[in-house]
């Protein structure tokens, strides 16, 4: 992942007033791929093309074509990771794999992405080893709340009442 490219993401700007042009979409996609660590212009162009084809404006998290294309770019990567690592399409699992990839587990990963499937199999071990494991498997136990009987000034009175009450009034134990 190329960290020098990361800061080209522009936070908190007003939304664009007009629909983005094709050039603009490609430009932003290219910037995103570069930030992810793809430096070869041909690879960027190919990946951007695929992302544009996948981009679906009606997906819930992408209200406009540009965000749709960017989300599709991420999906493209996730698809590859899911195939390589045999992962379920679950956001946390995919994100963990993506973090491992972008964290440097596979040097020059774009080359592997464009290589035959066997190459991907070669890197799957390194990638799997780099996937973060935030917690062990569950080994649950129960921790019941303990009973603490607080002292009350009425306690002696209750004791007295219990002692004077007739046997018929007592609750059977």
């Amino acid at each position: 992942m190329d960290r020098t490219q990361v800061n080209t993401a522009m936070p908190y700007l007003a939304p664009p007033s007009a629909a983005p042009s094709h050039g603009m979409v490609l430009g932003r996609l290219s910037a995103y791929w570069r930030a992810l660590g793809v430096s070869d212009p041909d690879q960027i162009a190919a990946l951007s093309e695929q992302a544009l084809r996948r981009g679906m404006p009606d997906r819930p998290e992408s209200p406009d074509p540009l965000t749709g294309a960017l989300a599709a770019a991420r999906d493209l990567l996730d698809d590859w990771l899911a195939r390589t690592l045999d992962l379920p399409r679950q956001p946390q699992a995919l994100a963990a794999a993506r973090a491992a990839l972008l964290g440097g587990a596979v040097p020059d990963w774009p080359a592997v992405l464009f290589a035959p499937p066997d190459a991907a199999r070669d890197v799957s071990g390194a990638l799997r080893a780099a996937v973060a494991e935030p917690a062990p498997a569950p080994a649950p136990g129960t921790m019941p709340a303990q009973r603490i009987e607080l002292f009350s000034l009425l306690d002696p009175l209750r004791h007295w009442r219990r002692s004077v009450s007739s046997p018929s009034e007592k609750t059977p134990s």
Binding site: V6, M10, L13, M24, R28, A35, Q92, E133, A135
Partner: protein, 691 residues
């Protein structure tokens, strides 16, 4: 060498009988002296009040005095033969694999760099014991601040990568910090507790030597009836003058007090919340904390859970020990007087809550005493204040009474009886009880040349004790007023918050000092003028208290000085053995903080906001998303709420959002992904706004 035996029931009874007999006897003697002063003309209501207050306060001082004295003799004559570390152990089966132990670090909006530097130091020290494989590390975050949250995740990942800790070093952030620290630990126990026989609970500023951790596990293995072993944490690492004085006091007197506590408490000791090892199974079975009936501050969740957990373990028949002789357990203390008071404010409510538990059914006598001691550590302040006020009023009443020398026709004058000797004796007894332990601690240095060297030699240690005594006299009235204020606020049902501690060294500004101590100074002026005007004789007795109050602002500011702290160290004052000869684990911490280069490139720079970085940086975004717990998709109302926050972020920037709102945005995986795509879709037009 003394032979090692397990203490019998008779042993418990004998030691406690001696301790309580001495405590009660001394209290009665001191009380008798005061009674002899008051009884000449019968007791006025004010005198009765004074007697009552004095009984409570001198009893409290006597307990502390005899604890120190027993600790003194324990250390003087070698180690306590009934100490947990000296008892005969059940034989261990070498064929049985070593138990799994979890090292738990519960954190809440702490300085992540310091937290992880500390954990890495412990990890390295543990690795040197070759027993690292038996331990797993858990960072149990209750952090609410979104920037700190993201920073913690990155630091955790960095630690895992640097130490090859995958599958051994874990991190989780709770979606809701229900029941604070006790809830945090309960969450661990109920989710992963089944994997571990023991857990070692740390605090964010705890440091423990690897061999101490393995010793704790060994002791637990040897003593299957023991559920908890508390180590005495020695205060270290601070540089301000205030903290160095406290570190010195904690170190030189602390070891005597902990030895004394162990002497009479034995297997019915207490839990101080951290730097302790706990057997997980009994903790799961017996330490689920209930909510107390009623509303805060006395009802609701139990705040100071540690005492209660120890009492519940004791109630279930398990032993709780204080391993006073186990070294290599450290903590850091607040750097300034004001931070110290802030910490007191947090602890005060929890301790006062124990007032209800001290009388609850089912707890054993010593657990009740622990609760009462916790209460008294805060209630003593308002009682001292009341005692001083009552003494002043009584002195004023005495000055108004006209002395009659001639009764009736009698021409021989009847001189008033002077009680100066008795009063001076009362004062001397009280002062002896307070200050003799300091002298005893110094005497112990004569026995041990290694320790003497550690404290900078006999002369430097003596001078440090004198100066520390002066300092504690000056700060005691200020802490008395602080604690009285906290107690009153709690009694008036004004619940205190749970603010994050400012743990790092920093100077107290004049503004901060004036705001915190302005009232103290004013109180000092008013009390001084009134006592000088109306009870001049009392005024001079009162001067140490008045001086402390009048000088509170400069004392607070000067004592927070790091330069003065360093200067005092150069002069060989307030030295502790840990400063003289830095233990390796503290050196590792120092190295980690000064020199360590993170493995993760994202940590090489410190951006303005880790929150924004979690939205924009593909790696940080992915890592953060991967650590979010799986959750149900948000409902329609919540989706609309998040939508509103997204628009606010887009239009007004991250500074317009509160920390809680930012947290909500990065707690939802769909929102996180959407914001990531949204930010990358914007042209990089305004580089100045980049994170």
């Amino acid at each position: 060498m003394t032979s090692s035996v397990r203490p019998s029931a008779k042993g418990y009874v004998l030691r406690r009988s001696v301790f309580f007999l001495l405590t009660n006897l001394t209290t009665l003697i001191a009380l008798g002296l005061l009674v002899s002063v008051f009884q000449s003309n019968g007791f006025s209501p004010m005198e009765l009040l004074l007697l009552l207050l004095y009984t409570i306060l001198i009893g409290w001082i006597c307990m502390s005095f005899w604890t120190a004295l027993m600790g003194f003799f324990t250390i003087l004559f070698g180690r306590d033969r009934w100490a947990i570390s000296r008892q005969p152990a059940a034989p261990l089966d070498p064929a049985v694999p070593p138990p799994r132990t979890a090292v738990l670090m519960p954190i809440y909006n702490e300085d992540s760099e310091r937290v992880f530097a500390g954990l890495r130091a412990i990890h390295r020290s543990l690795a040197e014991t070759s027993r690292l494989a038996d331990f797993d590390f858990f960072i149990l975050s209750d952090t609410r601040d979104p920037d700190v949250w993201v920073e913690e995740e990155l630091r955790w990942q960095d630690m895992v990568r640097a130490l090859d800790g995958k599958g051994r070093i874990f991190y989780r952030n709770r979606p809701e910090n229900t029941d604070r620290k006790s809830g945090n630990l309960e969450d661990f126990c109920t989710r992963w507790g089944g994997w571990y026989r023991y857990m070692i609970v740390l605090d964010a500023d705890s440091i423990m030597k690897g061999s101490t951790l393995t010793d704790m596990v060994r002791l637990m293995e040897c003593h299957p009836k023991v559920a908890l072993i508390q180590t005495p944490p020695v205060p270290v690492n601070r540089e301000s003058l205030f903290a160095r004085i406290l570190q010195f006091a904690g170190s030189i007197y602390g070891r005597m007090f902990t030895a004394g506590l162990n002497y009479w408490q034995l297997g019915e000791s207490n839990y101080w919340g951290h730097n302790a090892i706990i057997r997980v199974r009994p903790f799961l079975e017996h330490c689920g904390l209930p909510k107390l009936p009623g509303r805060e501050p006395f009802g609701g969740a139990i705040l100071s859970h540690d005492f209660v957990e120890a009492a519940l373990l004791r109630r279930a028949g398990w032993e709780v020990w204080l391993a006073y002789d186990l070294e290599g357990s450290y903590e850091e203390i607040p750097p300034t007087l004001i931070d110290y008071a802030k910490r007191d404010r947090r602890w005060c409510q929890g301790n006062l809550q124990h007032l209800r538990l001290a009388l609850a059914h089912g707890f054993n006598a010593l657990s009740r005493l622990h609760f009462s001691m916790g209460v008294m550590s805060y209630l003593a302040s308002p009682l001292w204040l009341l005692f001083l006020l009552a003494t002043g009023v009584e002195a004023f009443i005495q000055t108004r009474q006209e002395t009659i020398y001639f009764f009736g026709e009698n021409w021989i004058p009847v001189w008033p009886v002077s009680f100066a000797v008795e009063m001076t004796t009362v004062l001397l007894v009280t002062l002896t009880m307070l200050f003799l332990p300091k002298l005893l601690a110094l005497l112990l240095l004569l026995k041990d040349s290694r320790l003497r060297h550690g404290y900078g030699g006999m002369f430097a240690a003596t001078l440090s004790v004198v100066l520390e005594t002066v300092f504690s006299v000056l700060t005691a009235p200020v802490l008395m007023l602080f604690q009285t204020k906290f107690v009153l606020a709690i009694l008036l049902r004004r619940a205190v918050g749970w603010p994050t501690q400012q743990r790092g060294d920093h100077m107290t500004s004049f503004k901060e000092a004036a705001l915190a101590h302005g009232g103290h100074t004013l109180t000092g002026v008013v009390a001084g003028v009134l006592s000088y005007q109306y009870v001049p004789a009392f005024f001079w007795w009162f001067t140490p208290v008045l001086l402390g109050l009048l000088l509170s602002i400069p004392v607070s500011m000067l004592s927070s000085s790091i330069a003065l702290g360093r200067k005092s160290r150069e002069l060989g004052l307030f030295l502790t053995p840990e400063e003289t000869d830095l233990p390796p684990v503290l050196r590792y911490l120092d190295e980690n903080l000064r020199e360590s280069e993170p493995v993760l490139p994202v940590l090489w720079d410190k951006p303005a906001s880790r929150f924004v970085q979690a939205l924009t940086d593909p790696y940080v975004n992915a890592l953060h998303l991967s650590l979010l717990p799986e959750s149900e998709p948000p409902g329609k109302r919540r989706r609309h709420y998040l939508e509103g926050l997204i628009h606010q972020l887009e239009e007004e920037g991250p500074d317009s959002l509160s920390a809680a709102q930012k947290r909500e945005l990065i707690s939802d995986s769909d929102t996180l992904l959407r914001l990531h795509a949204l930010f990358w879709s914007r042209p990089p037009a305004n580089a100045g706004m980049l994170p």
